[in-house]
Every structure is written in structure tokens, then in C-alpha cells.
């Protein structure tokens, strides 16, 4: 088959575009839907939600308000999504709970830490992030739920094989 340079470029460009859309938009969703019957179903209701709102509702709240008094420290680019260091510190008075939420993971809630009186609302840990997404720090105080987020770009996913 003979193909002019222009035709070849057009064809390959549209081909990549289709591939790009498929890999970024559609495929992870389809893959998630296909694997979900096999996915572990954690019996705790907080871990069943797929969005920040559903996690807040499972914890008995209404909705989370964005706050600048929460410090979330995580790398902008995580080379290995299986090990992403996260530091969260809350300056909100009466902080009782800090949770790490990544909505593109099979379970949105990664971990929740409960702070009795005398413990500083500070935690450092390492989590898995499946794909590039906004990492969210959710804080529960006496006044309700607050959150902040940070975009973490993942070059190698944390939940695959």
C-alpha cells in the first residue's frame, strides 16, 4: 500500500488521539467495572464509597467544605504509585479525624486516623494511588467535615500487578 506523507501523518495522528482518549478516559472505567466483582469488598461502609461525598456520608456527615487550614504534603509527581509519602496536618480546632481519600482508587478511602485528646492532628504515612488524581485530605472536627486537595501525577500505578 502506498501512502502519501500527509495521509500517513493524518492517520497516525487520529490514531493516537483515539488511543489517548481510550486509555485516559474510557479504559480505566471499563477495567474498573470489569474487575469490580472480583475486587475485595471491605465490609466497613466508610470504605465502600467511590467519592469524597459518599465517604463523608458513610462517616455520618453531610458534606465536606474546602479549608485552607489543612496542610497536605505529597509529591506533585509520584514515580511509583505504590509508595506515595503523605503528610497531613490540621490547624482546625477540635480535629478528631484525618482521612486520606483518592477517588480514582478502587476504594476512595485509603486510611482514616482518629485522634484522641492529647494527640496532635498530624500524621505521616505512605499510600498507593492508582492513577493521576486529586489526593484529598479529609478532616473531621466538632464543626463538621473539611478537606483540601493536591494533584498527584502518577507515572506508575499503585494497584495493578
Amino acid at each position: 500500500m502506498k501512502m502519501s506523507r500527509r495521509a500517513f501523518l493524518q492517520a497516525s495522528a487520529s490514531g493516537t488521539a483515539v488511543l489517548f482518549v481510550a486509555t485516559t478516559g474510557l479504559l480505566p472505567r471499563l477495567a474498573a467495572a470489569a474487575t469490580s466483582p472480583l475486587a475485595p469488598t471491605d465490609h466497613r461502609k466508610e470504605f465502600q464509597g467511590h467519592t469524597l461525598d459518599s465517604v463523608v456520608k458513610a462517616m455520618g456527615g453531610d458534606k465536606a467544605v474546602k479549608s485552607s487550614d489543612i496542610m497536605l504534603q505529597a509529591p506533585s509527581i509520584a514515580e511509583n504509585g505504590a509508595v506515595v509519602p503523605v503528610v497531613i496536618q490540621s490547624k482546625l480546632p477540635g480535629t478528631r479525624m484525618i482521612a486520606i481519600v483518592s477517588e480514582k482508587n478502587p476504594h476512595a478511602l485509603s486510611a482514616a486516623f482518629h485522634f484522641p485528646e492529647g494527640t496532635e492532628p498530624y500524621v505521616m504515612t505512605r499510600v498507593k494511588i492508582a492513577e493521576t488524581s486529586n489526593l484529598r485530605a479529609l478532616v473531621q472536627t466538632d464543626k463538621g467535615f473539611f478537606y483540601t486537595d493536591k494533584l498527584v501525577k502518577v507515572t506508575l500505578g499503585g494497584c495493578g500487578g
Binding site: A39, P40, E46, H107, L109, S110, T125, K128
Partner: protein, 103 residues
Amino acid sequence: MADPMRIRARLTGDTVEVKVLMAHPMETGLRKDSSGKLIPAHYIETVKATCKGKDVLTADWGPAVSKNPFLAFRFKGAAKGDKVTITWKDTAGESRTDDAVVS
């Protein structure tokens, strides 16, 4: 039986900073082994830290906490020589308790 945790508790001013490194595979249940079979989920679900009979931190974890989890937190109200005890329980029903002396 899982390997022991490595715990360090250091007092600076009036605050104790505790750093814990646990040995655990934290399998999500989504990974496949080389023959294509799913590796069953096996992860730590709850972590509890106590000092002088009082809870200083409790945590609920899902499978998204990294393998061989690391955890650091800070609390007040302990002196040098006090003991910090950490316990984890996982989805397989295993648990492990280790302690460290505040230094």
C-alpha cells in the same frame, strides 16, 4: 507470624513523636500472580497505639496503604521511660503487638 514492627518513640519538648514501620504485604486483592490467578486480599484493617493505658491513636486502613506500612504521629502527655504499645489486626485475623520505650 508476621515480623516485629520497628517502633521509635522520641520525646522533644513535651511531644512524643512515634515512628512505626510494620512488616506486612498489604495485598489489595486486585493483583495477579505470575500464573494469572488473583492474589487474595490481605491487609491491615485497624491499628491502635496506646500509652499508659490510654489510646493515643487509632486508625482504620484500607488496602490502599502501602506495603510494609510506615506511620508517624505525635502526642503529648508522656515522659521518658513510658511505654508506647502498637497493635495491628489484618483481614486474615492475624494481629501483632509491639512496644517501644519513649527516649
